[in-house]
Amino acid sequence: MLELCDVSKSYATPQGPLSVLAGISLRLPAGDSLALMGESGCGKSTLLHLAAGLDVPDSGRVILAGQALDTLSESRRSALRRHRLGLVFQAFHLVPSLSVSDNLRLQARLADREDSAWTDELLGRLGLIGMRDRYPEQLSGGQQQRLAIGRALAVRPDLLLADEPTGNLDERSADEVLTLLLALVADSGCALLMVTHSPRVAAPLNHCLRLSHGQLMEATP
């Protein structure tokens, strides 16, 4: 489903180029799940952005759903993201001016794949059915993250990329959100790549890798 081949990425800083990814490779088959761990600032989010086609590597190749992202135009990369990917951010990134229901359906509508039965089911499973007309600011942090997960899954993606999905939540909410996320991912059959620095969050996933000094290594949560 996702393959990174010898990918490197560095950023310009006043002190010179800062290498965050130095020729890393990984492979995530369809339906599989992988936790990516590491210290803050080690490049986890950069890797996730490259995988989503939000950023481009300095060298190497990212292959998503069989398509090399570097060969695609910006428009084609967007289409791929719209139809095949689900994204969950640490800061939720919900649209504050849209209701819960409209937020949930947003990506599915953009992709012309809205399925009312599925989104209604999602609302129910996320525990947001009675809040469909509320706005994000009227929800708690846990509810907002559940909504963000629902938005990502409403399009029935092949791959879900989650960036610290429980990083902004307290322990209890984090557990609830994680359990729900894994259950929904299992039901939908999509692959999951989750960035986290918490071993407890990484533990339920099939594989775990640690990113350190720009290199990936096998890890146990």
């Binding site: 993201r81 719209r82 990134h93 504050p96 409209d102 953009l110 012309d112």
Partner: protein, 829 residues
């Protein structure tokens, strides 16, 4: 992507305004006011141009005019004699009738059978059944606007004050407003004329006229549009100023809404909306808002124009003798032009924001620092662009200096626009530098240091409103200095020019008899007859073709000699030379022909070209043409000028019964009582015309300042929530709400004061450009520059007042905010 997907994305973008209706209001208000003032001015201009076009069409064949040299009325025999000699002349009678309700309506009587073909008059005979026009009860052809003014229907026969009736009305769209055209037979009866006023002839027709006749070439008649161009350009400039100030609001609002939607745009991009469609959707949003704002603006503009039109019409009639209808006449291009200019302005105002949004990469979109970082870079760009605009302004000023008078008006306004915009662009870098220095200087006083640093943080949004304020204040100071300076000069000049106590214009056939009778009458010290005519000036240093000039004959009575407004002369006392045959010329002619006292000019006279020495140059405000002044005696002798008016000098310190004089003139010569006007009435009439002329300028100027105030208010309201989030930490650290409110008002008041301090020199520079450059380019004469300290004080007070007024509502809201809300703002910050 499907249409439904685009619709979803567009609705998502628009949903931002549901949470921030203030920003939507700010955008629409900006568009509305910009479009309203611009459209209002353009509606007046379009309506006036339509009137001029019809007036010009009336003389479209540029017919030459034949009159008697002595000003006596023509007789039918004269016409018949010329026709019998084969001259293709046609008679016309002109006059004015008074209707029963007191309305005065100009009447033109034509003879369609002899009229040279073509043009509006020709069209009149083609469109009307000729027999109906020629036969009793005849027809009165009027423009639709005139029909509306008379509140009459076609076929109606308006009653005259004298008790008679006009021939039945018929509509003619080709005629200008405020004019009735009918067959000469009907007009002569209606006007109680003894014969035609003049004859017309096609310019190409050759004709040798006896000495007592004069043929005025159609070339000498200036088309109405030419005369009034400068007036309309002034209006356009004021409208443009309002448009620019309004677009500043739009720019500020757009930057704010885009900045606040960076997160939303990042989310949409992350969810798979490509960059180009996103920018296209933002442009669509702009288009929708632009159409709503422009349509509201155009509707308000038409209303504004309808409200201002009577004043404009009165000014144009008083200044140029041009008649406009009371109804707006708006061609299709007015509506299209209004929409295009507003949408074009919107695109200009939003282009930089759209361009920036298009260039931001997805990951940078979420960081508002990316947007703020842009402002820091923009400051350098603004300083450079401001410098370039000032260089352009200086260059245009130099070019304008090389041009002859009455040329380069558009160039002059472009120069002013470049200087104003250049200065506005310099304002943010100047403010930023000044605030940074103040913040550093006051680093030992934490709250003061914070206050200056905080204003610097607010600059990205505040600066645009301050730029609008700078432009509005400078324009206000510049225009009010020009108008009040003009008033002082004009009143002084009126005192100098109006030397006689009474003025009388007797009919030409009774002129000599009236003059003789007045000379004999007791209680009149002296008569100052004046006459006017026209001729051509041959071979001047600046023009090789013969230039039409007016001729003005005066009687150099001691009172006139003492007061006549001379600007330059061959000696301290040029009057003896004047009495011996030298001429004086007005400033317009001196500037346009580069003639100075002591030089010689050559005029075309009935006896052939004749040279005259220039003895002096005099001020002649309000006259659109070059003029040569001679003694009345010499004007009669050399140019056979027709009789004009007579000034009556009354003995000083002795009361003269003016009413009795009017009665006697009426009894002895059948002259209406209105023909004798006293000096005070004449001055009052001139003052009224002056005030009406500048009423529009003042109104538009005040409205522009109002627009700048709205710019400030809307930008302060729009950023109020963010401000509260910035203030909440300070409140949490123990600074009271009262103090925070006070600091906020001081921050804004201080910034406005700095802006006003910069507006003062800019306003004075603008006033100088208007009196020394624009006036010369528009009218051919310049005004002295007057500096009014009270205007400068008003500018400073106005700036602070407008700003504090705009800041009052957000400050009051902060003041009234329950502590619980501030707590939540603190949590959010």
């Amino acid at each position: 992507m499907s249409l439904a997907a685009y619709r979803t994305a567009l609705l998502t973008l628009l949903s931002h305004y549901r949470r921030h209706p203030g920003q939507l209001v700010m955008l629409l208000v900006g568009l509305w006011v910009a479009s309203a003032l611009w459209s209002g001015v353009q509606a007046i201009n379009a309506s006036a141009r339509d009137s001029y076009a019809r007036a010009e069409a009336l003389f479209s064949q540029q017919l030459d005019r034949i009159e008697r040299r002595d000003g006596q009325p023509l007789r039918y025999e004269d016409f018949l004699t010329l026709r019998r000699d084969g001259a293709p002349v046609s008679p016309m009678v002109e006059g004015e009738v008074e209707l029963a309700d007191g309305t005065r309506l100009p009447v033109l009587g034509i003879d369609p059978l002899t009229l040279p073909e073509g043009g509006g008059l020709g069209a009149a005979q083609a469109s009307e059944t000729l027999l109906r026009f020629l036969r009793p009860p005849y027809r009165t052809r009027v423009a639709p606007e005139t029909l509306a003014t008379l509140s009459a229907e076609p076929g109606a026969t308006p009653t005259l004050a004298s008790g008679g009736t006009m021939p039945p009305l018929a509509t003619d769209r080709t005629l200008p407003p405020e004019l009735a055209v009918m067959d000469i037979a009907a007009a002569v009866v209606l006007l109680e004329a003894s014969g035609p006023s003049h004859l017309v002839i096609a310019p190409e027709a050759t004709l040798s006229l006896p000495d007592e006749w004069i043929r005025h070439s159609a070339d000498n008649l200036t088309a109405p549009g030419q005369l009034t161009d400068s007036f309309h350009l002034n209006l356009t400039a004021m409208g443009l100023l309002a448009l620019v100030v309004g677009l500043f609001i739009v720019h500020a609002a757009l930057s704010l809404t885009l900045e606040q939607r960076l997160g939303l745009m990042r989310t949409l991009r992350a969810l798979g909306l490509p960059g180009r469609p996103l920018v296209a959707l933002l442009a669509t949003e702009l288009l929708i808002l632009g159409l709503v704002g422009a349509m509201a603006g155009i509707a308000s503009g038409v209303w504004l124009a309808q409200w201002l039109l009577p004043d404009v019409a009165a000014s144009l009639q008083a200044l140029y003798g041009e008649r406009l209808g009371d109804e707006l006449s708006l061609p299709w291009y007015y509506w299209a032009g209004g929409l295009t200019v507003t949408l074009g302005g919107l695109l200009t105002a939003g282009a930089s924001s759209l361009w920036h949004a298009a260039r931001l990469d997805i990951l940078a979109m979420g960081r508002s620092q990316a947007w703020h970082g842009r402002f820091q870079r923009q400051l350098t760009g603004m300083a450079v662009a401001g410098g370039l605009l000032w260089l352009l302004a200086i260059g245009l000023g130099g070019w304008l200096h090389q041009l002859p008078p009455r040329a380069g008006l558009t160039l002059g306004f472009t120069m002013i626009a470049a200087a104003l915009l250049g200065s506005a662009l310099w304002l943010p870098p100047l403010l930023a530098s000044l605030l940074a220095v103040l913040a550093r200087t006051l680093r030992h006083r934490p709250l003061a240091q914070w206050a200056f640093a905080d204003v610097n943080l607010q600059l990205p949004r505040l600066s645009v409103a301050m730029m609008a304020l700078l432009i509005a204040l400078s324009a206000n100071l510049g225009v009010s200095s020009m108008v009040d300076g003009f008033r002082l000069t004009f009143l002084d000049w009126l005192d100098q020019r109006l030397v006689a106590d009474l003025y009388l214009r007797p009919p030409a056939d009774r002129y000599e008899a009236v003059a003789d009778w007045l000379r004999e009458r007791d209680g009149i010290d002296a008569l100052l007859p004046t006459r006017d005519s026209e001729t051509r000036l041959i071979d001047t240093p600046m023009q090789s073709t013969a230039q039409p000039v007016g001729l003005y004959g005066v009687t150099p009575h001691p009172r006139l000699r003492e007061r006549w407004p001379l600007l330059d002369a061959i000696s301290n006392d040029p009057w003896p030379a004047f009495q011996q045959g030298a001429v004086m010329i007005n400033e317009q002619l001196a500037l346009s022909s580069a003639l100075s006292p002591g030089e010689t000019l050559t005029l075309r006279t009935p006896q052939g070209p004749r040279a005259f020495q220039v003895a002096a140059v005099y001020a002649d405000y309000g006259n659109p043409r070059g003029e040569v002044m001679l003694t009345t005696e010499r004007l009669i002798e050399r140019f056979q000028a027709p009789p004009g008016s007579i000034g009556l000098v009354l003995p000083p310190g002795r009361a003269t019964d003016i009413s009795a004089l009017r009665d006697e003139l009426s009894q002895h010569f059948g002259i209406s009582r209105d023909s004798l006007i006293d000096q005070a009435t004449l001055k009052q009439q001139s003052r009224t015309i002056f005030e009406r002329t500048f009423a529009i300028t003042r109104a538009l100027n005040g409205l522009t300042l109002g627009v700048a105030g709205i710019a400030l208010l809307t930008s302060l309201l729009a950023q109020a929530p963010q401000r509260r989030r910035q203030l909440a930490p300070l409140w949490a650290q123990g600074v009271s709400r009262r103090r925070l409110t006070g600091i906020g008002l001081c921050q804004l008041g201080g910034t406005a004061l700095i802006t006003a301090c910069l507006a003062v020199p800019l306003g004075l520079a603008l006033a100088w450009s208007l009196v020394a450059k624009i006036n010369v380019a528009a009218f051919g004469w310049r005004l002295p520059l007057h500096v009014f300290p009270e205007h400068i004080a008003t500018t400073l007070v106005l700036a602070v007042a407008v700003t504090l007024l705009a800041a009052l509502l957000p400050a009051w809201r902060l003041w009234r905010l329950p502590p619980g809300h501030l707590l939540r703002e603190f949590d959010a910050s």
